[in-house]
Symmetry: C2
Subunit: 217 residues, 2 copies
Amino acid sequence: MSAQSPDTQSPRPRIRDAEATKSRILEAAKKEFAKNGLEGARVDAIALEANANKRMIYHYFESKERLFQTVLENAYFDIRESEKKLDLDSLDPREALERLVRFTWNYYIQNPEFISLVNSENLAQARHLKSSETVKIVSRRFVGLVDTILKRGVAQGLFRKGVDPVQLNITIAAVSYYYFTNQYTGSIIFERELMSEAAQAERIRFNIETILRIVSL
Amino acid sequence: MSAQSPDTQSPRPRIRDAEATKSRILEAAKKEFAKNGLEGARVDAIALEANANKRMIYHYFESKERLFQTVLENAYFDIRESEKKLDLDSLDPREALERLVRFTWNYYIQNPEFISLVNSENLAQARHLKSSETVKIVSRRFVGLVDTILKRGVAQGLFRKGVDPVQLNITIAAVSYYYFTNQYTGSIIFERELMSEAAQAERIRFNIETILRIVSL
DNA sequence: CGCCTTTCGCACCATATGGTTACTTTGGTA
DNA sequence: TACCAAAGTAACCATATGGTGCGAAAGGCG
């Protein structure tokens, strides 16, 4: 990089961009909260990582707690947005379920912060989510997704009747979520490298089979 | 309460009981770590709850980190001890699986700290468990449990062949564990009281059915 | 009984942490 | 172009926190 000016100590002109700064803070906060939990996360570390001044965090987000809340709400919003793009209604019900199971897995892989954030929120007894209307709204659509698939499967004589869509939903999340969130203790207890490519492929297969067996006649 | 003596400020004679003190500290630590996580837990709070002096914690356990490690190892030891008492080998394979699923559920209900401790340890990337030989040993027996049931089921023509006992083990834990650890966010997202007696009974039923469907022919 | 190891308690420390005060700089606009 | 609200910075603060130094008392043992 060449010298921009012959200044003795060019105090690089501060760029004013509120949106960019906010977004850098949010990204850094997501990382830090995910890595160290709500209590373990350090506001100074977030400021540093975001390349922002700590004061800005309090300026835009009021407190560490509220920053966490914003990060969490965004995380829920993002996963539900991704689900919207799945277009499951055009698929055979069995394939739709399989795609949903695969999607869940891949989302956790690509967004490892999500699980950790949710864990932190549960440790906090969901006190940040209680007041969040957005999360409730986006979640409703999500539950409807599986319900529709189930109904279509039953109508086509592919699935058995009486499967509770909420229980199925929970189970679809559970079989992937548990695997990831307990990957460290799991690898020790089962004396098996759970995160290798081979192990992952095997687990996805098993999960798809599990979910299809739940709904099968 | 009557005055025990006419002393001006009877400094109640200190009772010396190392084992009792250690055990009170461990119990208090389990509670505090489970409630607030490894980072959120406060050593002062543990001392207070244990009715012990903070100095004793460092005397017996060296550091907060090592105290956590001890609590965690004990927790794993306890759950494996309980499983030993299940006597699954005398049961019909299907009933053995059902009993194991029920046991897992009940254990989490009766020992809510367990899940939270394991979550904390995974946030810490299992760094406290890595050096623990005891955990590895007691875990081995645990995996063998399901393997035996599966083999017996296959031999009796009740279960299909080729089910990986580790995958099944993980799934048995997953369907209960996820439900509990995400009970707070879950109740919001699914807009349903997940911890009512009725909801719990329904979930146990669903879990048993899920596990039996995985192994069925 | 007197000794001495172990258990226990108080006061204290260095540091880290969430949060704030007070100030400077930027850049859109009247 | 001068103004001023908003964006940004640095130094600072009160407090909480994990961890210790050191002395006192308990009680088993010779």
